[in-house]
Amino acid sequence: MHNYEQKEAVRIGFYICHCGHNIASIVDVKAVAEYVKSLPGVVVSCEYKYMCSDPGQELIQKDIHEHSLNRIIVASCSPLLHEHTFRTAVEKGGLNPYYFQMVNIREDVSWVHTDAKAATEKSKDLARAAVQRVFHHKALETKHVKIHPDVLIVGGGIAGIHAALTLANSGKKVFLVERQPTIGGHMAMFDKTFPTLDCAACILTPKMSQVKNHPNITLWTYSEVTKVDGYVGNYKITIKRKPRYINEELCVGCMDCIEKCVYKEGKTPDEFNVGLSKRKPVYIPFPQATPQIVLIDPEACIEFKSGRCKKTCVEACDRKAIDFNQKEEMKEIEVGTIILATGYHTFDAKRVPFYGYGKYPNVYTSLEVERLVNASGPTGGELILRDGRHPKTVGIIHCVGSRDKNTNRWCSRTCCMYSLKLAHLLKEHTEAEVYNFYIDIRAAGKSYEEFYDKLLDENVHFIRGRVAEVSDWAVRSSEEGKLIIRAEDTMIGIVRRIPVDMVVLAVGMEPQSDSQDVRRLFNISCSTEGFFLERHPKLAPVDTFTDGIFIAGACQGPKDIPDSVAQAGAAAAQALTLIDTGEIELEPNTAFVVQDDCSGCRTCLTICPYNAISRDEAKQKAFINEALCKGCGTCVAACPSGAIKQNLFEDEMIFSEINGLLENTPVVCC
């Protein structure tokens, strides 16, 4: 396959493109073509207005036949744009596509230079470098890898659920892995959704039960991915299933055990109600939890702590589903593609001490208020403050942990809209006066501005100004017993003190606290903020830099429900594209080990970022898995015995290119 002998004579065809005026207005293309004609090995050298056009491509194919060309060089734009076009044209002409070389004289020359003469000389140098390089080119084969049709989805929030259903409905097998005991994510905790004020549970729970009952979906809740091996199309995943201490096959979710637990009242803060209520050691997160299976919290259960519990739960369970000896279980699966929908984390309001969260009981976060106004929440939907009062005035503070260089710089995108929604719900539940303190109202979305209009007409107060502090320091008798919000009303131009009964902090969205670990596990990248990085912010928003791994939802950046769902659909479509292609083509720019030169020193093994190199212990040599190799060249540079070479970037190619580039440069003695 790697043919080191060059037997037939090299016959080069050189084509220089005008690209309309883009190149020809600066570079004297005619002079470059004339010059290249004089170089050794060049048989054809000509200029053409648009090489990427059909006639341009046909010109190459015609010349290959007429002049028996075996190397093609095109001097035009960036290879990023048209390398594929020309390689295909060369292949159609009957030549191996890797006998083609591209010279960039647009982005590298005509667009960045103003001196026409120097630009023409630079183009000649670049062309000469390519001419010398192609002598060493070899015929390479593109490799194909089969794609395993199963898909792993990590995260069972609305994005994960939507992606799973989309794929499952198209007949693909899906493994949905969720860390929590139930799927549903943050959306399950919300009361209503903006701007339509649909009940969140009413639109989410049907999808949750569809996931549970779909024959193509394997749902593993209370589970985590611990190991990811392999490459696009052939991933091997290890999943840890945490023990629920309940036999999932037997439990029907009758909740008799919860009722009969020795604890008459719950003692542990309930995660689902953000700590606003207490739950028992044996519990089910919320009434519509999916799967409808209880679990035991070993941290709180007396049996686990002392072993001296009466075990009334075991007696109550007539299906004998409770198993205190359950152990965690490891599952190994093979999938072809992965969708990460790991979601977000809400900003910890204690990080902004001026707003008094955790200090004053009547300061709430938005997520807590979602639970408070919800009919299945800790108060059954009645808005009772922590001190037992009903609020008459409420202040909603926007941008808590957003647009602030002290905490998070980004705009969390959803807070404006959910604050408007909460303002509406609070007014509806309590008829309180509601004040919104905002920096800007960002209501950019379908029907969002109209929702803002509606709130304005509902007589909700909007005060433009970022709140400086929330305190209980009354300086007037009318402020006694209230929380005082201090902010500049920038519309009027005066500092105001507004006493309220309840403060709602519109906390922003952050990456999950373990997003860096997940990133390393799946070998993808994060942006500076810690959200997963997409391959291209505009044109590849759900792809990652690792083939076969896609991202959806708020793990990529703050997003509301419609955007998360849209992205989940896009990620599912990208996965389907791979699966339905059946196999994928890999660039042959991979590295290979010249077995005779390898000393088996293991240097390359540790530095390969893609785990593509393994060591054949019998032969004491390194071996590179071409399907895993991304052609980064790290091992090539690191190999102490020079035994690793990289296709398309072999030493003789690079050195001859450098030689060609510098041939006409006068040597300056110092």
Binding site: D457, H461, S478, M491, V495, R497
Partner: protein, 214 residues
Amino acid sequence: MQLPTQKSVQQDEAPQKIEKMKHVVRRIKFESELDLDFGERVAEKAYGQKLLSCIQCGTCSATCPLAHYMDYTPRKIIAMTREGFKEEVLNSLTIWLCASCYSCYVQCPRQIHITDVMYALKREAIQLGFHPKRLPIPILAQEFYKRVLKDGRNTESWLLISLYLRTNPFKMLKESILGLKLFLRGRLTIGKEHVKRRDQIHAILEHKKGGQPL
């Protein structure tokens, strides 16, 4: 080396600054100082304008031909009215400078009838006695109304006389030559003009203001 000019300037300004410091005003607003129903009351007087639906874009201020002379721009008047800054609003010059050109009304993206709000504020200010004693604009309005209520028609000469008497009688002397010229050309009359059925005009106007004193 001394810099005499700079020093002298400092010495000259020092007493002024000290004087200024004596008159520093407190710039904070407590909710207890506000009239929380003020916005609603004004909105009702302005035939139900939704002041809280204003998005504070400032179009009204930008279109207003008199905004240059106002102490608060129309946008700020709306913001202060709805938040209950009664004293500031009713003491402002803005409401009296409004010439009712309706430019703001035409361009407002929230379709708030700002001119009506200004009229409502003027009425509120007159009722509560919030304007400077001799400010001609509210007095002109009051005198005009009185005249129309009485005769069903306005007689300009009488209106001017009562206006000058209540604002600045000396100015009447100054303007008397102009008045004479207007009289000679038949633009001003001495006799009072009136309609035939004054009682009916009276009834209409009394009905319109809903029994409230203007």
